[in-house]
């Protein structure tokens, strides 16, 4: 009788081993990248490209293109297209490993809300997927296969995050981050721009684009992107070319810290005070450097960098964009009232920047 009891218990437990309706790995196909483009035909708004990883062994790999499959379909909205794409493969589309989402630059102006709703609503798409703006065509960029690419991995994932590439030109943005910044008052969303070279053999990421609630998105140049990344994300490696009085120096900043506050007068914002502390090394010089003069170099660098930063801040401000979140900071500075943000919106475009830069050069490399 005692055995009988245990037998029943065992049977009950065994009934759970059927696999919970969970699909095994051979029934799934992994999506490594999602690309969204405007439709090329008339019948629809979007074109979606899915990059599927097909497992192959490294030895058999003769050319890289064989380890991917691409699914492309056009339609009116993303959910619909995805459902059709599911019929283009014999397995279940597994989106949990999609680490890169590329959106065509031309779609950013009006349609960002649309995608974000779908991408975020689906619980299986990671909210830590990297998101980027594709220049020209997201499909072409997904189809680009650089030589050094490892099997069944999207090269873009190594671009973003700091595991692989940690260049100060590359800004990494997560899906949840862009959703947060886009919807919040007082800060504007940014996306890194991903482009392919003309031959279609190499990917390039060194610019960013700012997307506001209204108006056209603003593209920043590479050098502004670098400055932005150093200031906003404290990215290491900001380089600056100093060229004054016959002295040509290349400086690399190992650390950058920005502090900012909004100066108020009678409840009205009157100026934005920005305090930047940088420390770094001298990489290259056209003259012999004197260690006694390092203070002088510090001052020279601070003066020039300050000018550069100020130009960038005003350049962004003129377009009424705020990727740093100055408006958000202003909102935190007083208790909630209904018109706080309106006040800021009216004032922001006219606010002067009061930038101070402090540079501390640590060494001059192996030679003086």
């Amino acid at each position: 009788m005692a055995y009988f009891k245990y037998l029943i218990m065992l049977l009950v437990v065994l009934s759970f081993l059927t696999g919970c309706g969970f699909k095994d790995i051979d029934n799934r196909v992994f999506v490594t990248g999602i690309g969204i483009d405007p439709s090329e035909k008339d019948d629809g708004k979007y074109k979606i490209t899915l990059k599927l990883a097909i497992p192959v062994s490294i030895k058999e790999k003769s050319n890289t293109s064989s380890s991917y499959q691409f699914l492309v379909h056009e339609g009116d909205n993303i959910g619909e297209i995805m459902q059709i794409l599911e019929t283009h493969t014999d397995k279940v589309l597994e989106l949990g490993h999609a680490k890169v989402i590329l959106i065509n630059e031309s779609l950013l102006k009006d349609n960002l809300k649309d995608f974000m709703d779908y991408l975020f609503r689906r619980g299986d798409i990671q909210s830590i997927a990297y998101i980027g703006a594709a220049k020209e065509s997201a499909e072409d960029i997904l189809r680009t296969l650089p030589q050094g690419e490892s099997v069944v991995a999207s090269p873009l994932t190594k671009f973003f995050g700091n595991t692989g590439n940690d260049s100060p030109y590359v800004v990494s943005v997560y899906l949840y981050e862009i959703r947060r910044d886009f919807h919040s008052k007082g800060i504007d969303a940014i996306l890194p721009i991903v482009e392919a070279n003309k031959a279609g053999t190499q990917l390039i990421v060194n610019k960013l684009i700012i997307v506001g609630d209204k108006g056209n998105p603003l593209e920043l140049t590479s050098s502004y992107t670098q400055a932005f990344n150093a200031l906003r994300n404290s990215a290491a490696g900001y380089t600056y070319k100093l060229d004054t009085d016959g002295l040509k120096l290349i400086l690399t900043m190992t650390s950058t810290k920005m502090k900012y506050t909004i100066i108020k007068d009678n409840g009205q914002p009157v100026s934005i005070k920005i305090d930047v502390k940088m420390s770094g090394v001298i990489d290259q010089s056209n003259k012999t450097l004197l260690i006694d003069n390092i203070d002088e170099y510090n001052k020279l660098a601070a003066k020039e960098i300050k000018k550069e930063f100020k130009e960038m801040f005003t350049f962004i401000q003129e377009k009424d964009l705020d990727p740093f979140g100055f408006g958000l900071r202003y909102r935190t500075m007083q208790l909630h009232q209904k018109d706080t943000f309106k006040k800021w919106n009216n004032a922001y475009r006219e606010l002067p920047f009061d930038v101070t830069v402090h540079v501390n050069l640590r060494n001059t490399g192996t030679i003086d």
Binding site: Y174, S184, T332, H336
Partner: protein, 364 residues
């Protein structure tokens, strides 16, 4: 104060950290949540201390024993029935919330029934064990899971992408008057200690709970309330926060552990919290079962020297629990949870009044 009481409080705090409490708070994020949380802190902690100190007068007695000894049937029957149903409902809400969460984020293909059954099977075995074993099990699970949970919470706190400016924006709403909904939801996280109504028999309370205990419970409460409300805002922004169905799962999905075996924190996070929720569920239903047993004892259900009443009650528990998650959708669940939390002051009122009556009758 015995360490088991702290465990009860901790289990409830941890379970509700990510379940429906944060959602209710965030739905009203521009409607005086902060003041509600501050009030709830005082309310929850003081009632916890009062209940614990009242039980000190009845050493080694459960609530049914106390009431049966001191009051007549017309009084204790409805009171115990009310408590039994409340505890069952508390467990049911936890179960349904976690089953829905499990199916939205971890296992999409699994049917709802199967997930529920997996929970229920183990809970049903758990309900049949001795009270002492339940206490030990709570301790073991907490000791195993809490350090990892703390590690993940620290990981989330120290993430560079957590924008404290959003948290500060949320704090600027401190000047808005509190609302009852958010007050009752945030008080609910302090409910843990009331499980003492049954477990008092096995826990020895030597000293009166004083300043030290109040300080410890308050600190735990402040940390939990702060974390549960402000951290998701730091990750997801203030404007859109009311739209998230499970703000905490989305938040845990915002953190990447780049060198870990599992890169997405969500999976570890949900599984750990499910483990603690399981203990919370077990404790609630254990108390509920004991309360039901004290008022419904069917003498006819005798089989080989064994009374089958408790088996019958467990069967009923399971039937309702299998039926409910299928019928209810997320919005209804939220509504039911809100209603349940709103009744919380009545719950505390009935408990304290009946204890005071018993105390006077027994001339303690």
């Amino acid at each position: 104060m015995s360490r088991y009481i702290y465990y009860f409080i901790l289990v409830t705090l941890v379970t509700n950290l990510i379940a429906s409490v944060p959602r209710i708070l965030m739905r009203d994020s521009d409607d005086g949540v902060i003041q509600s949380m501050i009030l709830a802190m005082f309310f929850g902690v003081s009632l916890t201390i009062i209940v614990i100190n009242l039980f000190r007068y009845f050493p080694n007695m459960t609530l049914p024993e106390i009431l049966k000894k001191s009051t007549s049937k017309w009084f204790y029957f409805p009171v115990l029935l009310y408590f039994a149903c409340s505890w069952y409902a508390a467990g049911l809400i936890t179960l349904t919330t976690y089953v829905l969460m499990f199916n939205t984020f971890l296992s999409f293909e699994t049917s709802m029934i199967f997930t529920t059954l997996a929970f229920l099977l183990i809970i049903s075995f758990g309900l049949l064990i001795k009270a002492k074993s339940v206490l030990y099990m709570t301790e073991v699970v907490l000791i195993m899971f809490l350090p990892v949970i703390l590690f993940l919470i620290i990981k989330i706190y120290t993430d560079p992408k957590l924008d404290w400016d959003f948290v500060k924006v949320a704090m600027t709403y401190i000047n808005v008057f509190p609302s009852y909904k958010t007050f009752s939801a945030s008080s609910y996280i302090f409910i843990g200690a009331v499980n003492i109504v049954i477990f008092n028999k096995y826990i020895k309370i030597k000293k009166k709970a004083g300043i030290k205990q109040i300080a410890i419970i308050s600190l735990m409460g402040i940390f939990t309330l702060f974390t549960t409300y402000f951290i998701p805002i730091g990750f997801n922004g203030f404007e859109q926060i009311e739209n998230l169905t499970f703000p905490w799962i989305t938040t845990s999905d915002s953190v990447r552990m780049k060198y870990s075996i599992i890169e997405r924190v969500t999976f570890i996070f949900v599984i750990l919290f499910t483990g603690v929720a399981f203990i919370s569920l077990l404790i609630h239903w254990y108390v509920s079962l004991k309360l039901f047993e004290s008022i419904f004892h069917f003498k006819k259900l005798q089989w080989k020297n064994k009374n089958l009443s408790s088996y019958l009650i467990i069967l009923l528990f399971n039937l309702i629990a299998v039926f409910l998650p299928r019928q209810i959708n997320e919005f209804e669940l939220l509504k039911v949870s809100k209603l349940f939390y709103n009744l919380l002051p009545i719950f505390y009122g009935v408990l304290i009044v009946s204890l005071l009556i018993a105390k006077r009758r027994l001339k303690l």
